[in-house]
Point group: C3
């Protein structure tokens, strides 16, 4: 059950491992931005350029760098990275409590390898041979296929589907509606139509991975699809068979990665980036929103595609000209030749 | 159970509140377009430019403007807005009946605040503290998280997931596979990788809202994500944390709205429009299909991005020239200067 | 339960209907690419240009054309279409076994028309009037609405949702999270906001159709949405109401087809193609990844839209010039006129 949590200033300071200024017994019951925080709430200075907001904030306490202590009259928690400390504090105030350990009577569990500290929610189904690790939670309606192995302290939210032969590490969060291990899209053409290539690989997901809602991560054709440690994915992401996503990479909502693409470590893909199949993106690449990555990227940096948003009337004109860009280019080349000839004649 | 419905002409006329011409006892058993409607079916003239189809239609009755009464020989229902009346008539013929009130024995209901007229389907799960209003239907397999509140006469189709702390108004329809209240995508970078920002806000959805299948509406980071009254959304739409969608706005399939974007009232977003985060779109804006809204829109109107579809061979040439558009522009500027110089020399 | 399968060389040869060379009793326990296959594994030569890899492959047996028999020292299976034979062999080694016939005690079945050879998994729901054909499997958590009819030897994976009045042929595979028969997006504007047009059509899906995970196929407004025989669809595809997808067409992940579009037979749509509503695509069309099909296509061929990926800095310049393409065009026209005038004066 969700309930509002209250912590004292000193409790928060200790949990974050930071120094504080003020009455340590002051109770804090939530977090809010500087501008809207009221008494009893904790806030934070995400960016030094907003320091002017400190003076007028009604927050009871603010996480800020020691050098700005004098800019705020209330209680302080000191950190040189207030945004990171805010992230850590957010866990303290999360009202969502881990459900009790044990198997709900309505769950159908065909496996005998469920750790006693795990929580299997109402109407879950865990098929034969599946392994559920210590402290892991399956929320209601989640289905875990045969022989899949889930590590420790994972949280699969309601109505998640894992097919057979999917392996998750520890501390993996998967949001509702996400499907892991569905068949990759492989078919051979024949005179009688498409012949399905049964997908015999699996999916391996590392530790500390977050996967948003309604994502799809397909099983490999022969080898596995791999999501390495520390990857974070937003909602509605589609990962095709045999893709590898490197450790620490972040993908915003609706990204789409085609088969056998390899994405490096610590990349950031903005919303709805598409990656074509069988290419490689090196480590440390940033791709801007809605870009289609059409070739391998070998140099770290930022990459883009697309056209700017315009008034539709203006856009129609530019779009029409785009269709004849090659012709326009040739006309410019012809002009250059003509002008050069004239200059020579004149000279 | 789905069964074909029969209504008499006079029953339909009364339900729509319109006048009619013909035998009021004539039974109608469905709706069809003018061109394919047969005896026993109702049709409608959606657009006056199709009036010529009236003469040959075999529909038993047609909804049309009084001024066109003489163009059709069969029975008539009179309205100056036949399309709207068609929409209302469609409800009369919908074979989908509300299931009986009560809680199916297989449902797992941990809340004691279910209105007796509500229908909780097979294998649903309703967690502690959740409120289900009068006449609301949860179809099979739907999960409602702790402390979520659903108003009256809502219909959540099969396998919908609501997380904890989600609030729906009255007359909200949500289609299957949709996930509301999953975590927004918030992480702080650290030396040890991404640190999750627990999403402490909720989701608030107004009255008379329709949400299609397999959508995601994420919970807010600190404040709520908000969908105002009368919003309609098609399938596979993704709404990130802290977005506000204004009253009466319509979004076609696969739209994607990034965090903290604010969309005005009575906007229409065509299919697969993308909206970047932290921008504002004013009321009454139309955005054409697949446009990426990259900046705030302050003037009502129509907006677009993208390039036209072409034969792939032609397209490759235009695309290659796009990569060098800036160079082409500079060559044109150079030509203009040269030509001007020549003119001056000649003059 | 998933278990590794072992077949002898002669068993595989007979199942594929091909000749072989070697010890027919040799046991094969899986399939792998030429480069990574080890002893006990079967491999295949997908493309003759990789024939050089035959010499060094450690596979126990390889599917290859008879003309290349001398290039490989191990056992052979002979076929002029090794890729197709690989597809057929993949079925032999698929560890996923059809679950036992019968209705799991936790399933809620309100229909009395379930074939005794069908398998209804844990926590499934089958509503009144639904028909489940011979040999069909519903995996756990799947919901089949009233009066829907599913043919023979279909496989609906876990947590699929079929609404009422959906018709599937034989040998249809549907992956998890997919929703078929949700309402099409139809609303009439009124002074009081959007009025829902109840969607009175259904969905008809042919034989031997594959549909990936988290797809949406909406029911028709008045007539049915139709997916013809032999269509294959990847994950996260959205098919709006009254669309027709022609027989044998293949759609890669995340394609989006708007209402009443008609797609021909044997078309191939690459990833995330968008098709606007009310247009027609003829048979045998290929559309490249991320293209938006904005008009009917009457000539078979390949079609594209979009812009190439670039370094973001370079891209910003091209994008800015795109906004003024019409102006650039007019400047070129002006230059052409000036140069022509100068030539005439000079001449």
């Amino acid at each position: 059950m969700a309930t509002t949590k209250q912590l004292s200033l000193v409790e928060v300071a200790r949990a974050l491992g930071v120094d504080y200024r003020g009455d340590g017994s002051c109770l804090l019951s939530g977090i809010a931005p500087l501008s809207s925080a009221g008494p009893g709430q904790l806030s934070f200075l995400a960016n030094r350029k907003y320091a002017a907001a400190l003076a007028s904030s009604e927050a009871s306490a603010v996480i800020l760098p020691p050098s700005l202590a004098d800019d705020f009259q209330g209680y302080c928690l000191f950190s040189d990275d207030p945004y990171l400390m805010f992230a850590r504090a957010s866990a303290l105030f999360d009202p969502l409590e881990r459900p009790r350990a044990g198997i709900h009577p309505s769950a159908v569990v065909m496996s005998d390898d469920i750790h006693p500290s795990a929580s299997i929610g109402a109407n879950c189904v865990v098929e034969t041979g599946a392994v559920i690790g210590e402290g892991t939670v399956l929320a209601p309606g989640t289905v875990v296929g045969a022989d899949s192995r889930i590590g420790c302290n994972c949280y699969l939210h309601a109505n998640v589907t894992l097919y057979h032969g999917v392996v998750l590490g520890d501390e993996v969060n998967i949001h509702s509606g996400t499907v892991i291990g569905g068949d990759g899209f492989g078919f051979a053409p024949s005179a009688d139509g498409w012949v399905k290539i049964h997908q015999l690989g699996g999916v391996r997901i590392g530790n500390r991975v977050e996967i948003g809602a309604n994502c799809c991560i397909d099983r490999g054709a022969l080898d596995d699809t791999v999501i390495e440690d520390g990857v974070i994915m937003d909602d509605q992401i589609m990962i095709a068979h045999n893709v590898v996503v490197g450790a620490g990479t972040a993908m915003a909502g609706c990204c789409q990665v085609a088969g056998s693409a390899v994405i490096g470590k610590r990349c950031t893909l903005a919303g709805n980036v598409g990656v074509v199949g069988h290419i490689t993106i090196c480590d440390g690449v940033h791709v801007t929103a809605r870009t289609m990555v059409t070739r391998s990227i070998k140099v770290p940096g930022s990459y883009s595609s697309g056209t700017p948003m315009m008034d539709s009337g203006q856009w129609r004109k530019s779009a029409a000209r785009f269709s004849k860009l090659d012709e326009l280019h040739r006309r410019v080349v012809a002009l250059e030749r003509q002008v050069k000839n004239q200059q020579q004649e004149d000279g």
